[in-house]
């Protein structure tokens, strides 16, 4: 075994494949998953706030259940159940990611909505604004401001959890790295580079969000 432990040839060979997996799957899943979580999270938070008990209580239970059970199991479950009806495994993966993080985002929005002063609601009533307009023009704009840093944090968190998609065989970056290692019997370059790409992408983003957090605080 005279082979050196690190081979730049292997690193150069695998890097383009990793980047392809990164842009085509990892990043796409993160962006679309976040979008789903941002929209559904708001809907869930509003439902829990305005719907009568017989709707909001079961919604709360389901949300807590999804939040307290593993994403991996949810991914495999959804894939097995839905694959006869939905062709794209990636779509299933993105929806599961999005719905899992919806349960976090709903909590973020709830805190945001709670932080809107009671006087604002009273003022809306005094002006006899319709309910929908109260939400759209008064509550949500104020609530959303305080939710931005947490939203960013969950987007980063989801980014780092996209490798869980390996369990449904989506060729995102880490799956590409693992496959390359299996094919060539050299895992060192591919897995290490995958980790470094995560670090390079997530660290500056998290610094930015921390700065945003300080500015909004």
């Amino acid at each position: 075994m005279n082979e050196s432990w690190w081979s730049w040839d292997h690193a150069a060979a695998v890097l383009p494949m990793l980047l392809e997996g990164f842009f085509k799957y990892t990043l796409v899943a993160t962006v679309l998953g976040t979008l789903i979580a941002v929209v559904l999270g708001l809907i869930v938070a509003m439902t829990r706030r305005v719907a009568p008990g017989f709707i909001s209580t079961p919604v709360t239970w389901v949300v807590e259940f999804i939040r307290m059970t593993p994403l991996v199991v949810q991914l495999v479950f959804a894939n097995l159940v839905l694959s006869p009806y939905i062709d794209s495994t990636l779509a299933i993966g993105i929806w599961v990611l999005g719905i899992h993080y919806t349960t976090y985002m709903a909590e973020v929005y709830r805190a945001g909505i709670d932080s809107v002063p009671k006087g604002q609601w009273e003022a809306a009533t005094a002006l006899s604004l319709p309910l929908l307009r109260t939400w759209r023009a008064v509550v949500i704009p104020q609530a959303i401001r305080s939710t931005l840093p947490a939203l960013g944090n969950y987007a980063i968190s989801m980014f780092k959890e996209t490798p869980f998609l390996v369990v449904i065989y989506i060729p995102e970056m880490v799956r590409v790295a693992q496959t390359y290692g299996g094919d060539t019997f050299r895992y060192t370059e591919s897995i290490t580079l995958a980790g470094l790409i995560f670090l390079v992408a997530s660290y500056p983003t998290s610094v930015l969000i921390r700065r945003l957090e300080k500015r909004l605080a």
Binding site: E107, T192, F198
Partner: protein, 259 residues
């Protein structure tokens, strides 16, 4: 034999199948609980060591701790798991260790969530009121003694809800360990799926994880009540058994705390 209707039609026979396979499933439960318990313990130790290290006066210690935390937070759990399982054995002497699957799982979970926990510990120490630090100098307590007798007991009460969330995250993250040949609860349930159908097997798995998560919630709620009581900010545990069943989440989830 599958689908929602199949789930109810086959409920009786499926429970029997599950009963017959119980030994293997319990082995899986044991592996998951072990990984979550030892992983959680390692994460707790790492959280405290690197959380406190970020608050010391010596700049070099702070910087090293900071790099450690950012590195393990930033590189993703699955990558760390694969690195320990596939890359570490290929490294030259004195490395090249082929670790046991359980050790790989515990190490990866402990390092990753420990790095998140270090941020929680650092933040909680930082949010102990300034007056408490001033009181330390007024009473001329040594910095180390003050840290362990005054600051940490108060910070501990503050950090438990976040650590509770992190521990649940760790339990959930542990479901990935079968990719490095550690046969946990998820893996064992996946094995019975052929016989029981998807719905039954996976609903069972989800409920099982949910129950384990609730054990964590109850332990952490108990610790929180005790910690608050000890610093004189709440009733004794025996007087507030109701709070043990308080669901997790709330403020910490809303802040994006485990990120």
């Amino acid at each position: 034999m599958d689908g929602v209707i199949g789930f109810f039609e086959q409920l009786g026979p499926n429970i029997e199948i599950l009963g017959a396979r119980m030994p293997q499933i319990l082995e899986g439960v044991q592996v998951t609980v072990l990984a979550a318990a030892f992983g959680g313990l390692l994460a707790l130790v790492i959280s405290f060591v690197f959380g406190i290290a970020q608050t010391v006066k010596l700049g070099a210690v702070r910087i090293i701790a900071r790099i450690f935390v950012e590195f393990f937070r930033g590189t993703s759990l699955v990558v760390q798991l694969f690195w320990l399982a596939f890359v570490l054995p290929q490294l030259p002497y004195p490395f090249g260790w082929q670790l046991a699957p359980l050790a790989i799982g515990v190490l990866a979970l402990g390092l990753n969530y420990g790095a998140y926990g270090a941020e929680v510990v650092r933040g909680s120490i930082g949010s102990v009121p300034k007056g408490q630090y001033e009181a330390l100098s007024a009473l001329s307590l040594s910095p180390v003694r003050g840290m362990f007798r005054v600051i940490i007991p108060q910070a501990w009460a503050l950090m438990i809800p976040s650590l509770s969330n992190l521990w649940i995250q760790l339990l959930k993250g542990s479901a990935i360990v079968s990719t490095v040949l550690l046969y946990d609860l998820y893996f064992r349930v996946e094995q019975v799926r052929d016989q029981t159908g998807t719905w039954f097997a996976f609903l069972f798995a989800l409920v099982a994880y949910y129950l384990v998560a609730w054990v964590i919630v109850i332990i952490m709620n108990a610790l929180e009540v005790r910690a608050k009581h000890k610093i004189g900010r709440g009733p004794a545990l025996s007087d507030s058994l109701g709070t043990l069943l308080r669901p997790p989440g709330g403020k910490n989830v809303a802040r994006g705390a485990m990120v």
